[in-house]
């Protein structure tokens, strides 16, 4: 213990004593408080394990459940019957949680064959609303398209993508070519309805989710400005979605369009739709009424109730990596630019959680996810044209930005946005439109040095 203390002390002193008074950057934003990006769940790690580390403040009981969930998150499912991990499919997108959330991080857009096993898939629905105001399943295909199947079963279809180039020019003359994906389907197992809509998805990071779930509903709603009554060009709308466990409407928090209320529902839905693993929340196979979707084994639910609960707790209690270099003048300047060009209006830096029953480690925390948890019109460029509860075809939920600067190290790529179309942070910013158009245009006008400061700030997260 003494040795630990001995090493800890000089760092603190260095920070104070080595400040260079002669070169105070203009308007530096003090980021000291934001070091605890996840409040007490913060992990001070910047290596490949930074997304997959348990929150350090868990109770022993929850840590044991977390570790059990960790093992289940990596379980690979196989064709039933089998001694271990049976029940894959019959139709599915992937076989294990960890392949779509590698190292609990972000999946890459599949390079080469878009139908290779990856963290990418398409959602679908036909026009209209279901009894709860949600999307109407595409007849014969449901709400998610499974492009894989176990042997002797047919996948629902295969995905296809082509690209259209969009050139953006920055103030310093730099030209950036964005590749806009155009998705379609091939080889459907039965007729694919002509009016069916498609919306692409890529697996996002899964750390910090419990904190986001523990933000009081009233806090999220207080930031709404549906009709932009303050006239700042930014609206902000909470999604309201059906929670089949609580059997009520609730604020949507998870998924790229905030169409899911809880981590439990997100996990249970992923087991069922992504892997074909039935569970106590969703005990019926995704394709049960389809010729390719019923395994006829009568073995549902295919995982024990405890497994779903462990995985849910696991995703609720992963630690949040601390930012790096927050005392760098360049990073501090970038943080200031993040405010002045309006990024922080939606990517709201600070949030506070309320009490979360059973998980004290995520309760009553002040943390820095950089999201308002609300839907915003992101413009035609990003639009999927597929409504999901209150989210219209142009709206997406503000993504948290915490940990984003570690993506290259941990996941080996920087494919950002809902389908990984942006190949780096600059492209991701340039894809912003709609309510974010003004900020994007301001970004384009930045000097090269200011742009690099902004990127340095984002990469410090």
């Amino acid at each position: 213990m003494i040795r630990k203390l001995l090493y800890a002390i000089p760092i603190g002193i260095l920070l104070i004593s080595c400040q260079d008074d002669n070169e105070t950057p203009p308007q530096p934003l003090d980021l000291t408080a934001r070091l605890m990006a996840g409040g007490e769940t913060t992990v001070h790690s910047a290596t490949s394990i930074a997304f997959e580390t348990p929150a350090p403040n868990m109770t022993a009981k929850n840590l044991a459940l977390h570790l059990a969930g960790d093992a289940q998150f990596e379980a690979v499912f196989v064709t039933a019957p089998a001694e271990v991990n049976q029940g894959l499919g019959p139709i599915f997108n992937n076989k294990t949680c960890i392949e779509c959330h590698p190292k609990d991080g972000r999946a890459a857009f599949p390079t080469g064959d878009i139908n290779a096993l990856s963290g990418f898939f398409l959602r679908t629905s036909v026009p209209g609303k279901d009894p709860h105001g949600g999307p109407v399943p595409t007849p014969g295909f449901g709400l998610q398209l499974q492009n894989q199947a176990i042997r002797n079963y047919e996948p629902e279809l295969k995905f296809k993508v082509t690209y259209t180039d969009i050139v953006e020019t920055l103030a310093d003359g730099t030209k950036i070519t964005l590749k806009k994906p155009n998705y379609s389907i091939t080889d459907p197992y039965t007729t694919f309805p002509a009016n069916a809509m498609l919306s692409p998805r890529i697996g996002p990071p899964v750390f910090g989710l419990g904190l986001l779930e523990a933000i009081p509903e009233s806090v999220i709603l207080s930031r709404q400005d549906i009709d932009d009554s303050d006239g700042d060009g930014i609206s902000g709308k909470a999604n309201y979605v059906w929670d089949p466990v609580a059997e009520k409407m609730a604020v949507g928090r998870f998924g790229w369009k905030a169409n899911t209320a809880t981590v439990l529902l997100q996990s249970a839905g992923a087991y069922k739709e992504d892997m074909g693993i039935t569970n106590y929340v969703f005990p019926i196979e995704a394709g049960v009424d389809q010729s390719n979707g019923n395994d006829g084994l009568g073995d549902d639910p295919e995982i024990a109730d405890s497994i779903l609960d462990e995985v849910t707790l696991y995703c609720r209690t992963l630690g949040v990596p601390a930012p790096r270099n927050i005392d760098s003048p360049q990073v501090q300047k970038g943080a200031e630019i993040f405010e002045t060009i309006g990024c922080a209006q939606c990517h709201v830096p600070q949030q506070t959680s309320g009490n979360f029953p059973g998980i004290p480690s995520i309760s009553n925390q002040t943390f820095y996810p950089y999201t308002d948890m609300l839907l915003h019109d992101m413009g035609e460029g990003l639009a999927d044209g597929r409504p999901d509860f209150l989210a219209d075809g142009n709206e997406w939920k503000t993504r948290p930005l915490w940990g984003i600067g570690l993506t290259q190290l941990i996941n080996g790529h920087t494919d950002f946005l809902h389908d990984g179309r942006a190949k780096n942070l600059t492209e991701a910013i340039l894809w912003h439109g709609g309510e974010a158009l003004k900020s994007k245009d301001s970004f384009k006008e930045l000097s090269t040095a200011d742009r690099e400061s902004l990127l340095a700030f984002l990469n410090s997260l």
């Binding site: 203390l5 002390i9 000089p10 004593s17 690979v76 042997r151 080996g412």
Partner: protein, 360 residues
């Protein structure tokens, strides 16, 4: 009371020394501080331990593929050659699990090589079909390729497969599976070597422009995190699940390399992976490693880590008979090995990692 640390005295001393180190000279610049340089440790570990382990793996994958291609159904000697070649290839793979970062993860190579469990139904359905079995076809299904699929074909579910038991169709599958396997080990080795993807450069040039690691200390911490990760996996996963996975009783189906009864070797090689990275030694090469950094700061800890690594390997190897049998009949010996691994993990986490993280 021979030694007594007064934290306040310590603080004063440290503060004084740092104030001196930070004082400006007449030109307004800072007096250069002596900074430790770990390039030697990082270069040796990346090149001579990590990249070389992958080279061995790829060489042995080529040997396995050759053995399968030379196999004649019913020839016992051929079959033994294949089995030996599988074990020989398995060893460097397990010795690489102390560094599961970089291309092995980001390029999806780990699941392609080492997915578990095997999807026996998928394999049987493919065998029963008339579809040509090719490496390209197998690449679409991680659960029916790689080490454990090959293991399943050459040992069978019960571990007693005979050379004459294989069918032509199974040999066709084996040839495709070993070709696919070798293509992935090649990709892995190429991803690290200087003339390929040169992932090693991230470690060698840590702290410089172009490296993923913004400091040498961060790169050293990555090495330590990799060691901790595999110690955790062996102690709390690979041994724990088969030993206690059935409500505190044995769960034989949870054993990873149970067809070949290679589990004890797998576990010992995992700990050797920790040993290789820690010492900076691999095969005939003995170079600089974490051990040199630790020795300079805390010689006792260095001795402790080296001893605990050796103890873990010894206890794993002294489990009597097969691991399959031992989890039922020699549970104390298995538990003793597990304890040794967990003890090592604790030391790595609570003593080695803080020392490395706080290096200057």
């Amino acid at each position: 009371m021979k030694t007594y640390f007064n934290p306040r005295t310590l603080l004063t001393l440290l503060a004084a020394s740092i104030i001196i180190a930070c004082s400006s000279d007449d030109n307004g610049g800072e007096t250069p501080q002596p900074k430790s340089d770990y390039k030697g440790e990082l270069t040796n570990t990346a090149n001579n331990v990590i990249t070389e382990t992958y080279k061995t793996l790829n060489d042995r994958a080529l040997a396995l593929q050759a053995a399968v291609n030379d196999f004649t159904i019913g020839d016992d000697a051929d079959f033994e050659t294949v089995k030996t070649a599988w074990r020989e290839a398995r060893s460097p793979w397990e010795q690489s699990e102390g560094f599961l970062y970089g291309p092995v993860d980001t390029e999806g190579i780990d699941p392609a090589i080492d997915s578990w469990p095997v999807d026996v139904n998928a394999i049987d359905a493919l065998l029963a079909s008339s579809e040509p079995i090719t490496a390209t076809l197998l690449a679409t299904n991680d659960d029916a390729r790689g080490f454990h699929t090959i293991e399943y074909f050459i040992w069978g579910l019960d571990g007693f497969k005979k050379s004459g038991d294989l069918t032509e169709r199974e040999v066709e599958y084996l040839k495709a599976a070993t070709a696919d396997f070798q293509s992935k080990t090649q990709q892995l080795y190429d991803g690290w070597k200087a003339s390929g993807g040169n992932y090693a450069a991230n470690f060698i040039n840590a702290g410089e422009n172009g490296s993923l690691y913004t400091s040498q200390v961060l790169a050293l911490t990555e090495l330590v995190d990799g060691m901790i990760t595999i110690a955790d996996e062996v102690g709390n996963g690979k041994i724990e699940d088969p030993l206690n996975g059935n409500g505190g009783n044995a769960k034989p189906e949870a054993e990873e390399s149970r067809f070949s009864h290679n589990s004890k070797k797998d576990f010992a090689d995992n700990i050797r992976s920790i040993q290789n990275v820690y010492l900076g030694d691999y095969a005939a090469v003995s170079g600089k490693g974490l051990t040199d950094v630790v020795t300079a700061n805390n010689a006792d800890l260095n001795t402790k880590i080296i001893d605990q690594i050796a103890d873990a390997i010894t206890k794993i190897e002294s489990i009597p008979g097969t691991f399959t049998n031992a989890i039922a009949n020699n549970r104390n010996e298995v538990a003793s090995a597990q304890t040794a691994v967990k003890t090592l993990q604790t030391t790595l986490e609570s003593e080695l990692k803080p020392l490395i993280q706080n290096l200057k």
